[in-house]
Symmetry: C2
Subunit: 262 residues, 2 copies
Amino acid sequence: MATGRTHRPATRSRGIPEATVARLPLYLRALTALSERSVPTVSSEELAAAAGVNSAKLRKDFSYLGSYGTRGVGYDVEYLVYQISRELGLTQDWPVVIVGIGNLGAALANYGGFASRGFRVAALIDADPAMAGKPVAGIPVQHTDELESIIRDNGVSIGVIATPAGAAQQVCDRLVAAGVTSILNFAPTVLSVPDGVDVRKVDLSIELQILAFHEQRKAGEEAAAGVAAQAAGTTAVPAAAREESSATDQGPDGDVPAVMPA
Amino acid sequence: MATGRTHRPATRSRGIPEATVARLPLYLRALTALSERSVPTVSSEELAAAAGVNSAKLRKDFSYLGSYGTRGVGYDVEYLVYQISRELGLTQDWPVVIVGIGNLGAALANYGGFASRGFRVAALIDADPAMAGKPVAGIPVQHTDELESIIRDNGVSIGVIATPAGAAQQVCDRLVAAGVTSILNFAPTVLSVPDGVDVRKVDLSIELQILAFHEQRKAGEEAAAGVAAQAAGTTAVPAAAREESSATDQGPDGDVPAVMPA
DNA sequence: TTGTGTGAATACCTTCACAGCT
DNA sequence: AGCTGTGAAGGTATTCACACAA
């Protein structure tokens, strides 16, 4: 680290900060786009702009992976694509099951970016017997009864829950019992899982509420600014010309581990 | 306008930390459930368990809102529901438009939690003329041409983008030009917006990649740990054997989980 | 000269632990 | 005695700014 030959390909899944991990997919997407345009190299500045972060952060992030850039030049696009893919574990195949094939489940099943990066929809599962056999996105829906055997037969370790909230914990328990160790939860519920199981959640309602909070604050500031300007007898500043929050603010990413109810 | 309702003394600076804001909806959901069961009060410990956080964090979070608890007793459920709702801006009505009514857009339109918290789907908008007039979730889909007038006529400040990636930036630009200042983006693209506009994104692919990273690491640790047991003949039995490695992240908001390995 | 890689500085978040109110 | 509210401590993440390689 200090001034020495940090030549070791840092290949180790060493302690990459979680915040960095969460941004790697972003970089990867930007890099893939560059790759498709046959761009050979990028600077941290350019890539950062494409990914919506600042360049210092990007360089710091990459420094955790190793020294993959060339000073004075930039990063080799193809090489970086490979390194990040490997780091994220995308060079292998990840069979995924989606449980709950309503509108949302169907949307997920149809989502192209799914297959594009090592993820393969191994099965679609729904509790409605009427759905069984019906193809969604070209894959026949299977009944919940098959859940355990599907997981085991396909070596599935990642499950996506797109059921109603009421069914989510039960589905989760079954997935975990059958061997799933990573869960992406779209149901608006806190899932509790044993240690060693990762849960990430995606929740429309929460995101909207966060937006509402900021929106409300904007309205307040605007009004206050207007009042101030009025008192000063000057024209109000063009409304939203304030340094609110980050313009290119991010998405989800977390906190909140599930706690075992003792 | 900004009601200067800081009648409380001391440490109540203008800004509630972003990490706290991101958890308020979680608390609110847990509190709502308690309220429906007519539970009058909760301790920080109980509420924290229901929300999937630890109690110190919860108390700290609440301390930013004010002193709404009673020492030795806990928090009044109804009162807290109100305070958090107000803080999040949910006591007012937020008209929302959803642009892009495919499977995902339809799923969002049908999502119940939407209306339940002050959000009202003001309009569904799609670029496909064939969709125009067709009702989805009881709301007729309108054509993209109407976008600007819909935004203005309904005073919409929050927009949801559920279009394909290729259309997202353009839709975003039009939303912003028409007056939208908060955007929830489901398209797998980085949106650029002017200052003063908030963007939050929800991205399936990114979430899966983050899970894959941790999954890969688990597999690696397992293999390393299993070196000694390798004599036992069994080959690659994926997962489902060990329950020792921790890691339980998850989450919303800008950035910030935290899981340290060893 | 250009742009990476990184110590150091800063900002932000979480957890601890206990004073203080009920 | 019980539980909140919060300073202080400990971590993590971001940003700065510059030495150094190409």
